[in-house]
Amino acid sequence: MDTVLRSAAVYIFLLVIFRISGKRSLSQITTFDFILLLIISEATQQALVGNDFSMVNTCVVVASLVMLDITFSWMENRWTTFGRVVGSLPVVVVEYGHLLEDRAKREGVTLPEILTAGRETHGLERLDQFKYAILERHGGISVVPHEKN
């Protein structure tokens, strides 16, 4: 029982932490972010497994986490509001060539990052060539260019 409760507590704690840190926190993983992820996983592993290194305990931890993930996915699909709370929503940050500064600032997205996304995906040179830039739920930036006349 203890293992299942530990797994649930860690799952929910991590979920809350990553919701607090925002969409952009780990969307573009730098070397340091990668190391940070490894440290977080190592620290979490101790709390999940405790002092019991048995095979059964490992199976219970893995099964509990996967079951929680499946349950959360089901709940996200079943209840739209729950899905929004757990998984967030996309946000338009550029509209018809104009940066929506308040939104970009609150989401921690900078203009150079948006321009980079435009260059990488559509070869766009300037902001006025953007129709929309959207910060997606997963933290990536999608770009819709102006239609060519």
């Binding site: 002092n51 929503l89 946000v91 338009v92 509209e95 018809y96 104009h98 959207i134």
Partner: protein, 164 residues
């Protein structure tokens, strides 16, 4: 934001988004407070607010302990005995021992005995001032009331709070 109608089919909800931003700001503040509480010792394992003392430091029995401890983790309870003649005979209350497991007593007692409401330890030391360290592992949760005392002397009470 522009008032031009969007051709974009997107489930954006700026009112919800504003709530999310507010939650994130509150969350960051809560995280800051959590780390601050951990630094101060409110989550156990040391820190200025976690250090507790009971009894008179110049008296026959003085106890140092952690106010906040963690379930499943160990902490030290240090007992300072002064002016003991012959063997130091002290006891730990049995109700406290129901919630903790004593991993070790340093120095190792020469004799241990169990009574209904207390466990007695006897240490023969060459000095009248003896310091005994109990390494205890906490198994209970919530408030743990403890009492330690000298068999033929005073006793002190202290309480620890065990968190998950």
């Amino acid at each position: 934001m522009s008032d031009v109608p969007r051709s974009l089919e997107i489930d954006e909800d700026i009112a919800f988004q504003r709530k999310e931003w507010r939650f994130q700001r509150i969350g960051v503040a809560a995280l800051f407070l959590f780390v601050l509480a951990a630094l101060l010792g409110l989550t156990g394992m040391g820190g200025p607010l976690s250090r507790g003392e009971a009894g008179n430091s110049n008296g026959p029995l003085h106890v140092e302990y952690e106010r906040f401890v963690r379930r499943g983790s160990s902490s030290k309870v240090t007992l300072h005995f002064r002016g003991a003649t012959g063997a130091t005979r002290f006891w730990v209350s049995a109700p406290y021992l129901e919630h903790v497991q004593i991993d070790s007593v340093i120095p190792t007692p020469d004799l241990e005995s169990v009574e209904t409401h207390r466990h007695i330890y006897v240490i023969r030391a060459g000095s009248p001032d003896v310091t005994v360290t109990l390494n205890v592992k906490h198994e209970g949760m919530g408030s743990l009331e403890a009492e330690v005392g000298l068999v033929d002397g005073p006793s002190v009470r202290f309480s620890q709070f065990s968190i998950f």
